[in-house]
């Protein structure tokens, strides 16, 4: 049963990250996802310190606020003339440092250690259960990430057309009257929420892996956004299953193993994707060369 809960949590994390990651990589904002996932840390710690509990809600609120602030700071810096990559680099490292310093200074008050910050403690998920009306209804993490996942699914489903245009052609979206900035911030808000909800399970840096790697893999396999979203979520689930298996086999961090599996799947797609894979390209080049020779 424990394995089931761990795999379920992992799948939910990977699927919700992979889902939003598609939009991130299409808008070329993968590093912004990286930045958010680092900088939510001070928000989480502050929520811990202020609410003095491990309740999910204050954490979600605090960290999402910080995530949006991060995006805002980066945009402000960029607007005031700092190159965008440098703006990202300066902002997230500074906020992450604040978070790490807070964790170190209040170790006794904050129920978080630095290892957990980096790679989470998904293995302990099954023991931290939620009770509702006197009944145990499964791990808290599952409910947390599950509801966030549902929220992003519903939001994207409602505004799918808008998100799609914003992802591929923001200029056109603005021209047809879609509030591009609003959707940008909605997307960033969802990314922050997902990051926070995943944080305890997989840690700061592996959230980035889950945001980017499955969606990049899906990007190599299809040209349709809807298919890409589906494939990306599916790959997330695969990562969770095989990652758990790999981690129990090697006795290592489950979140790390999930990332390694994701990397492996990406490598497979990179080599053998029917349309964009390296092998397919080599074959089609050969064929082209032969055809040219025959002419």
């Amino acid at each position: 049963m424990n394995s089931f809960w761990i795999i379920l949590t992992g799948s939910l994390v990977a699927a919700s990250c992979g889902f939003l990651g598609c939009f991130l990589i299409l808008r070329r904002m993968a590093m912004l996802g990286d930045a958010i996932s680092h900088s939510v840390l001070p928000g989480i710690v502050l929520a811990f310190l202020l609410s003095e509990s491990r309740d999910t809600l204050p954490m979600l609120i605090g960290a999402t606020a910080i995530g949006l602030i991060t995006v805002f700071i980066i945009q402000t810096l960029h607007a005031s003339g700092v190159k965008s990559d440098a703006a990202i680099g300066v902002t997230f490292t500074a906020l992450f440092s604040v978070g790490v310093v807070l964790v170190s200074m209040y170790t006794d008050k904050v129920d978080l250690d630095l290892d957990c910050v980096l790679y989470g403690e998904i293995a302990y998920v099954p023991w931290d259960t939620l009770t509702f009306a006197g009944m145990e209804i499964g791990p808290r993490a599952v409910w947390g990430i599950g509801s966030v996942f549902l929220l992003s699914l519903v939001t994207v489903w409602l505004f799918f057309k808008q998100f799609k245009i914003c992802a591929f052609d923001p200029a056109m979206a603005a021209a047809v009257g879609i509030p591009v900035m609003l959707f940008h911030y909605i997307l960033m808000g969802l990314v922050s929420l997902t990051t926070v909800a995943s944080f305890e399970s997989v840690g700061a840096i592996l959230v980035v892996a889950m945001l980017v790697v499955p969606s990049a893999t899906a990007y190599l396999l299809t040209d349709r956004l809807s298919v890409m979203l589906g494939v990306s979520m599916l790959i997330g689930v695969l990562c969770s299953v095989f990652g758990y298996w790999l981690a129990t086999w090697l006795d290592t961090s489950i979140a790390g193993a999930m990332t390694v599996v994701a990397g492996g799947l990406f490598l497979l797609a990179l080599l053998f994707s029917p349309k964009y894979g390296v092998v397919a390209k080599v074959i089609s080049q050969r064929r082209l060369r032969r055809e040219i020779k025959e002419i």
Binding site: G81, K83, T93, F96, T107, L114, V208, A209
Partner: protein, 443 residues
């Protein structure tokens, strides 16, 4: 222990020297990375170093900085190659490739790290210090390694300064001159990699990127010259290293990396706000001054044109702030304050009696402004006639740019359009009104 006692301790002195040298190296090399738009590559390199270090430990079972250096360097090279290969052979963009490589390598590193920790092979405890850095754990041999490597890096930067400058600003031109730009780019990457590797123990893999970015961005606020920027950046890096180390030795349990990064970030924030030319504060001041100057000029011009309107006489009717507000389309409150300021400058008179008029100086100033404005109008209306006159449209004043012939031609055109400023009978266009840079008039 107070701060001074800590400084007396030879061990701390070593650590301090190590961190300062590290900050200097990362600052100097970071400025080249920054100018090449490669700031985040340092992030990827640092994260990628983790699996390299772990593999080295698994292979040898020893904790020596030399071996770790090699491991991290190999892993870093692999990461750079992956990023380049992914962007070249697939349709994935560079930022995604960067985030992907970074996180997969780091995930691998975490797997190996936890594997080592769970297999309790005794002295593994040092490895997790690589995550956030622990300068206090630096021992003499580590510091020696840092000194040697950073010495080499600084010397190489000095020797290759000219080449790196080309690389940063115009690699195409450099290739044209016959420099091996690809090789130099690779060399710069290698040097960045070495900086990252020696920084691992002090700052840690997670935050090493900040050491490459923050000092460079900070230095950029203070200068436009590459040489000075590199030096300043090195200085900021060294200072951050020193401050961060001092703070983290003072307070128990505080990892060094975040403290160094926070020190570097404070320098950045200070520069962002207060640097003399690019700082936000000076920009706001400049903007307000410009706005005031434009307002003053508008008021003078409006008053001039009001006087001009009926039949070119100075003492015609009484003009009030209301007239000016209507003429310029600006709110009355602002007009009033502009009038007071101009009165203080001795350009206007008669504010109390609501018969605003120019003083002698004021008339000259207003005449110049109107003439300049109308000459620009003429120029824009007949731009093709004046193409050979070599006029820079970005400058504020046109008269000093004109040759006597062109000026005469323009004055004639002004006459044709009936636009010649009439209030001052003897125009002295050669003498322009000297504006001070602070805005307002220096008459």
């Amino acid at each position: 222990m107070t701060g001074w006692d800590v400084l007396q301790d030879p061990n701390t002195q070593w650590v301090l020297i190590g961190c300062m040298l590290l900050g200097m190296c990362s600052g100097m090399l970071g400025s080249f990375a920054f100018l090449r738009n490669r700031s985040l590559v340092g992030d990827a390199l640092a994260h990628a170093a983790l699996p390299g270090v772990c593999v080295m430990f698994l292979l040898t079972g020893a904790k020596s900085i030399g071996l770790f250096l090699i491991g991290a360097a190999v892993a870093g090279l692999l990461a750079i190659y992956s990023i380049q290969a992914i962007t070249r052979y697939t349709r994935i963009k560079e930022d995604t490739a960067l985030a992907l490589t970074l996180s997969v390598f780091f995930g691998l590193g975490i797997v190996l790290l936890t594997f080592i920790q769970h297999s309790d092979s005794g002295n593994q405890s040092g490895l997790d210090k690589f995550l956030f850095g622990q300068a206090a754990s630096l021992i003499a041999s580590d510091v020696t390694a840092i000194v040697v490597v950073s010495g080499i890096l600084l010397a190489a930067t000095g020797l290759l300064f000219k080449e790196f400058k080309l690389l940063a600003f115009d690699p195409g031109f450099g290739r044209g001159l016959g420099y091996p730009m690809g090789l130099l780019d690779g060399l710069l990457m290698l040097m960045l990699l070495l900086t990252v590797v020696i920084g691992l123990q002090a700052v840690g893999v997670v935050l090493m990127a900040a050491m490459l970015i923050a000092p460079a961005v900070t230095a950029r606020y203070w200068t436009d010259r590459l040489g000075l920027m590199v030096i300043l950046s090195g200085l900021f890096g060294a200072l951050s290293g020193a401050l961060g180390t001092l703070f983290s030795t003072q307070i128990e349990n505080l990892p060094t990396g975040p403290m160094i990064v926070l020190a570097a970030t404070s320098f950045f924030l200070f520069s962002l706000l207060f640097s003399p030319r690019r700082g936000l504060l000076s920009r706001v001041i400049r903007f307000l001054r410009l706005r005031r100057k434009v307002l003053h000029e508008d008021v003078l011009q409006a008053l001039y044109e009001l006087h001009e309107q009926p039949h070119a006489q100075l003492t015609a009717t009484s003009f009030t702030a209301e007239h000016l507000s209507q003429k310029t389309g600006k709110p009355r409150r602002r007009i009033q304050s502009a009038l007071r300021a101009l009165w203080r400058l001795g350009l206007l008179d008669g504010l109390e009696s609501d018969t605003i008029r120019f003083t002698a100086d004021g008339l000259v100033a207003a005449h110049q402004i109107v003439l300049n404005q109308r000459l620009w109008d003429i120029y824009h209306m007949n731009e093709n006639q004046y193409q050979s006159a070599g006029i820079d449209k970005n400058l504020e004043e046109i008269t000093p740019q004109l040759s006597p012939d062109t000026l005469a031609q323009m004055m004639k055109q002004l006459d044709d359009y009936d636009l010649t400023p009439t209030l001052l009978q003897k125009p002295k266009p050669a003498v322009s009104v000297p504006y001070t840079k602070k805005g307002g008039f220096s008459l």
